[in-house]
Symmetry: C2
């Protein structure tokens, strides 16, 4: 297959700028490798509320489900704080209706940028981990109640929900360093005890060659900054995954660098940077496009099985960083556009050099 | 009042060693200042399960409620993992039955130890914050269900539960740098939206002179390691407080240094180090006693209004650290006993010097 239909959801804040950057990179790769990437934009989040009154219009939902893959910018705007309809609901609903139960958040700390980490270089350098966050269960989707004097949120998990993300995490670990750290709060929560039992059973029955360890979420939050290199695959439920992946998002120097992939059992995946909508710098050519560009690389790899193309994006990003061409969040001076241009130039240069070496 | 009845709950692992250390320090202060601290030991946790079959015997509960204050070591032992009766239930039950809704976890990063932090010195040095964790509500005490194929935990908060810990946090901020950061997940959880509204209202009605900011828990987990000095008082619900306070517990060089106080509206408080039972080093004279000794200082201050006595413990701990007499967790060679002895000597020395200066 050479034609890929990508739905783009620019969303709010810096979302339009960073999705635009990733589209340019994909188009460049299409030229080089002979693929056609077609982009169709749809509304989500605050932008969708402003235009239609709802954070996820039906057309957006239908387009996403029918796409080959979805590229998302960011959603969220403080102007909706305290309002009954909020941008985030669009994101939560699309995750659920596309069945995206596994959210992959890789973190590699590059030698070129480890000096920008809040952690000491000798602790953080060489970190290479992958968070598997369960994305369609837990307290995010449980029943809520509200009265004048109280509120409640229900956290639920079924065995099946735990099993499918667990299998995905173990499979990924088999392709990496063969270790899974499952994070829960089994000394307090019933869902965590079910989580721990289920992960333990799937491990014993299906992945005995992978090393499994269990950690409590409080202790993991601590050890992740003491010994980030100890982790390979981290497997956890929705809320803990949200907190822990944001905590470690800055270890590589900037949250602006980090991509994510949200995948279901089949059907299209959704790819988005970890960072938020950053309304304070929106429209000013200041956002770091790399998180979204690397999300596009994850799309190529996970949704389209285009390994070489994904590799070439990652190589180009590494090359540009090594030459210290970075955006403001990393202490540099490049704008969003210039950073994107540098990556495109590097892709072309690397491809040209590689082509000359073919016998 | 000069006689104080302190119930000691040594608990599991290193608990007996560290509570013993704190008792020696309190006894020394009693000698100097003319107070009598009487200690009565009771069972909790795994030690209580082994002896009585339950993690919180009725006598322990009754003794705690009747005490002037409670000093706790640690509870927990991996040998109970997966068992129906677990040590932690003792801790959760005593918190609830003593009505300890506010858990105070101060963190100061001393210049003497900032080189031991995983964070870069220029980021972490000078950090001085105080976490107010709600301790008797939320998912810790909600209804749980379990079937063969699923599990659930209910997170609930009432306005009253939020109000009382909020007032405590604002009062503390008034005595400090006048800033409260309230942490929630209001873009997802209904309890968080109630939390945010309630904190906002109490602020406007009762503490308009304190600066209030709201943060999402994922973003706070990140900013705490990027800019720990920006925080003064952090106010949050039970589970978020558990995770965030453990995350930052290592910023000062070792979790072994950190104390906590759990307080109710009246009645005795409970004082315990942040660290766990550390069964791997139990009984080997390796544990850092400072977390428990500083918890005893918090007891003197918060339960007995003995400010000078509390100050002298804190001064002695600072002096000992400055002279680099530290335990293994901080790269030193002192055992638990020797570290305790050093602090007691410093208390006596400081007191002697101060006494000579009285005109
Ligand atoms: C915007 C918000 C609802 C979302 C979440 O909590 O899942 C975000 O923080 C994320 O991690 O993608
Ligand atoms: C032992 C455990 C139940 C407890 C908690 O989660 O509250 C501990 O982690 C703490 O922070 O005191």
């Amino acid at each position: 297959k050479r034609n890929f239909n990508i739905v783009v959801l620019p969303g709010d804040g810096v979302g339009p700028e960073v999705t635009k950057a990733a589209q340019r990179v994909l188009t460049c790769l299409g030229d080089i490798y002979g693929h056609t990437f077609s982009f169709t934009e749809h509304l989500i989040g605050g932008a969708a509320i402003d235009a239609t009154g709802t954070p996820l219009p039906k057309e957006t939902e239908a387009a996403c489900v029918a796409a080959d893959a979805v590229l998302l910018g960011a959603v969220g705007d403080p102007k909706y704080d305290g309002k009954p309809v909020r941008p985030e609901q669009g994101l939560l609903t699309i995750r659920k209706s596309m069945g995206l139960f596994a959210n992959l958040r890789p973190l590699q700390v590059s030698p070129a940028l480890s000096h920008r980490s809040p952690l000491k270089r000798e602790i953080v350098e060489g970190t290479d981990l992958l968070v598997f966050r369960e994305l369609t269960g837990g307290v995010y989707f449980g029943e809520r109640t509200r009265t004048d004097t109280s509120a409640s949120d229900l956290c639920t998990y079924t065995v099946e929900e735990i099993e499918r993300v667990t299998r995905a995490a173990f499979k990924a670990a088999e392709q990496r360093r063969g270790k899974v750290t499952s994070v829960d709060k089994a000394n307090v929560m019933e869902t965590s005890r079910l989580w721990r039992e289920t992960v333990t059973r799937i491990h014993a029955e299906e992945f005995p060659n992978v090393t499994l360890e269990h950690a409590l979420v409080d202790s993991a939050a601590m050890h992740l900054i003491l010994r980030p290199r100890d982790y390979d695959v981290i497997l956890t439920e929705n809320m803990f995954g949200d907190i822990l992946s944001d905590e470690i998002s800055v270890l590589g120097g900037s949250i602006g660098l980090l991509p994510s992939a949200s995948l279901g059992s089949d059907g299209p995946g959704l790819f988005e940077p970890i960072h938020g909508s950053a309304p304070d710098i929106a429209g000013q050519d200041k956002a770091n496009p790399i998180g979204t560009i690397l999300s596009a690389a994850m799309m190529l790899r996970h949704s389209f099985q285009l390994e070489d193309e994904a590799d070439s994006i990652e190589a180009a990003v590494a090359a540009v960083q090594a030459s210290n061409q970075v955006t403001r969040d990393l202490g540099g001076e490049l704008g969003t556009e210039a950073a994107t241009r540098a990556i495109i130039d590097a892709i072309r240069a690397i491809h040209w050099a590689a082509a000359r070496h073919v016998p």
